[in-house]
């Protein structure tokens, strides 16, 4: 490995805490650079974005708008969609199972996401320093996420949460005698959350990559100033990885709201996939059931757009609060 003292030439400084951020990655307004400059930037921007533009027009935007239209129709997949205005949305609010799915999903998101991110960050901090067997440790911690949400995972999850199996036995040591966890409507959701937290590999890798970009000099300087471990974490690590933390938080939230496969895997496929007493009826599954089994694609589309509104709101709020806690290098001057 090469010595890397040249890193210092970047002249990076700890963020000052004063930062400016907009919805899009902003840059400070350039001093009147002239119209030609601006036009050249526009051209370059769109040239770089060409594949993305084609992609969004061809693959994403069209289907998105179609689904928006379908949300206002009665569409059974095979006959032409029939316009029914806001009826799907009105029906949603009358639908007990829809409310159940909202509740289940909210619980899942609000409990699962913070736990998963905390686990990911803790392990990333544990693994950031080079040590003997680093590759082994990283891969071992990542292994659960490699498996994905396959049928095998469903089987092993059902087995370890079985009556008298390892989880139940260890928990009854603390006086928690549940029995079979996945069969119990009160305890099935916690097993799904556990599965999510267990697969913390993706945010962990992103945290690792972010931690790698924190220049070591910052820590040396802070240590000379006598800052302790916690201080260094609070005033250097956290601000320096805040863009990555922001990313992880946002994406994990979005993914959690859309959770689908892992819920299906735990509930087990078959006729009844909301889990015991609909306790695993996540939004994504209910939407799928309505669209593809009950052939109510218009209703499913309405559900999808309600979800999109919900996540959109959360996303917008997060972007707004970015200003307060996310520090971008470009702003730190």
């Amino acid at each position: 490995m090469t010595p890397t003292t040249t890193r210092a030439t970047h002249g990076t400084r700890p963020p000052t805490g004063k930062s400016r951020a907009t919805a899009a990655p902003g840059t400070r307004p350039a001093p009147a650079a002239g119209r030609r400059q601006g036009r050249r930037e526009n051209l370059a921007g769109y040239l770089f974005l060409t594949p993305w533009c084609i992609g969004i027009l061809l693959l994403t935007l069209g289907p998105m708008l179609v689904s928006l239209y379908l949300a206002f129709t009665d569409y059974n997949l095979f006959d032409s969609p029939r316009w029914i205005g806001f009826k799907n949305f009105q029906d949603l609010f009358q639908d007990d199972r829809w409310w159940t799915s909202v509740q289940v999903t909210l619980k899942y998101v609000l409990i699962g996401t913070p736990l998963k991110l905390a686990a990911a960050l803790a392990v990333a901090l544990l693994l950031v320093k080079p040590r003997k067997g680093q590759g082994f440790y990283r891969s071992a911690f990542y292994a659960p996420s490699l498996i994905g949400a396959s049928v095998s995972v469903g089987i092993v999850w059902r087995a370890i949460f079985n009556d008298d199996a390892v989880v139940d036995k260890s928990m009854s040591l603390f006086g928690w005698d549940v029995g079979g966890w996945i069969g119990d409507p009160d305890w099935a959701l916690p097993t799904l959350i556990t599965l999510t937290v267990w697969q913390f590999g993706a945010p962990m890798v992103i945290f690792l990559a972010g931690l790698k970009q924190v220049p070591g000099e910052l820590y040396e300087a802070a240590e000379m100033d006598g800052a302790g471990r916690w201080r260094r974490f609070r005033s250097i690590t956290l601000p320096m990885i805040s863009p990555v933390l922001f990313f992880n938080l946002l994406l994990e939230l979005i993914h959690s709201f859309q959770v689908f496969t892992s819920a299906v895997v735990i509930a087990g496929s078959g006729t009844n996939t909301g889990g015991p007493g609909d306790s695993l009826l996540v939004y994504g599954w209910y939407l799928y059931e309505q669209g593809f089994r009950n052939l109510r694609m218009g209703y499913a589309a309405a559900m999808a757009w309600m979800l999109m509104l919900g996540i959109g709101l959360v996303t917008a709020v997060l972007f707004k609060t970015q200003r307060g806690w996310v520090h971008y290098e470009e702003d730190a001057r």
């Binding site: 490995m1 890397t4 002249g11 891969s139 292994a143 092993v156 970009q213 240590e223 471990r229 863009p243």
Partner: protein
């Protein structure tokens, strides 16, 4: 190695450091033991007979058998297992190339170029993350069918080459925004245009982000199930993730043993990919300073 110190203490005597290191390893292994319990269970299960797998209370088989693995060599419906692996490798590899290329281009534009309409387009990109995929299935299927691309890999790959995965664009944007501005300003003074800044400065510095994206793309495309299910109509085009679902059906004698064994074999390529690339995760960051 000095710069890789991260948050570790600089001053500590050798003896102290040794003791700490032992504690660290013991602690990490203890955490791992808990986390890897289910994985060990799966490995144990792959050596159990099929009727002793579901709901089993035992971690390891009492009477290990290798039958489950041996059966894999028979293939599924005249298709050898290796075909599924070749197909998956092709798709996952193709996806990695596509994502690295197209998403980094888009991310550079969003992170480093000031063009009109950028905020609106960025918002649009983020919004594509928000709509659940379930309602996009039908319109997209009809589109690819009109283009006569059903039963080809194009529907599974095209999006990767057109930066349709907003996740990766956004990931790279976040990393590029962390790079010091002075770098491209200096390059610009030297007369470099955007293509050169992108290729010679930003990309090398973003290696951790690129490697991360490569790892995720590979794994996620390897594990993707819905796409191959809908678009592939011949078993010899099937991927590993599809193959894994061919062991069980409601009105069949389910081959749980075979499935668990295959899910472990299916894990090997992704594990190897991860092992190979996580090393670059370190090197990328360590050497980036030099190149800048």
């Amino acid at each position: 190695m000095g710069a890789l110190r991260g948050g570790c203490p600089v001053s500590a005597s050798v003896g102290q450091r040794g003791a700490r290191s032992v504690i660290w390893h013991v602690g990490a292994l203890a955490v791992l033991a808990v986390i890897l319990y289910p994985v060990v269970w799966v490995i144990g299960g792959s050596f159990k007979p099929g009727d002793q797998i579901i709901g089993s209370l035992q971690l390891l088989p009492t009477d290990p058998i290798t039958d489950n693995y041996r059966r894999l060599s028979d293939g599924i419906a005249d298709v050898p297992i290796s075909t599924f692996f070749t197909n998956s490798l092709l798709l996952a590899g193709g996806s990695v190339i596509g994502v690295l290329f197209s998403c980094s281009l888009a991310a550079y534009a969003f992170a480093r170029i000031r063009f009109a309409g950028r905020d609106a387009l960025f918002t649009l990109m983020i919004s594509t993350l928000l709509l659940p995929f379930q309602v996009l299935i039908i319109p997209q299927y009809i589109l690819f069918q009109k283009l006569d691309l059903i039963n080809t890999y194009v529907p599974l790959l095209l999006g990767k080459y057109l930066a349709a995965d907003a996740f990766f664009v956004f990931l790279m944007v976040q990393f590029m925004r962390g790079l010091p501005r002075e770098l491209d300003e200096a390059a610009r003074l030297d007369g470099c245009g955007h293509p050169r800044i992108y290729w010679n400065i930003v990309l090398p510095l973003c290696r951790p982000a690129l490697i991360t994206s490569a790892i995720f793309t590979f794994i996620w495309s390897w594990n993707d199930f819905i796409g191959p299910l809908l678009y592939l109509n011949e078993p010899d085009k099937y991927t590993v993730s599809l193959g894994l679902k061919l062991f069980i059906d409601q009105d069949s004698v389910a081959d749980y043993g075979g499935m668990v064994a295959m899910s472990l074999v299916a894990l090997l390529p992704v594990l190897l990919f991860f092992l190979a690339f996580q090393r670059h995760l370190v090197e990328g960051a360590a050497t980036s300073g030099l190149k800048g």
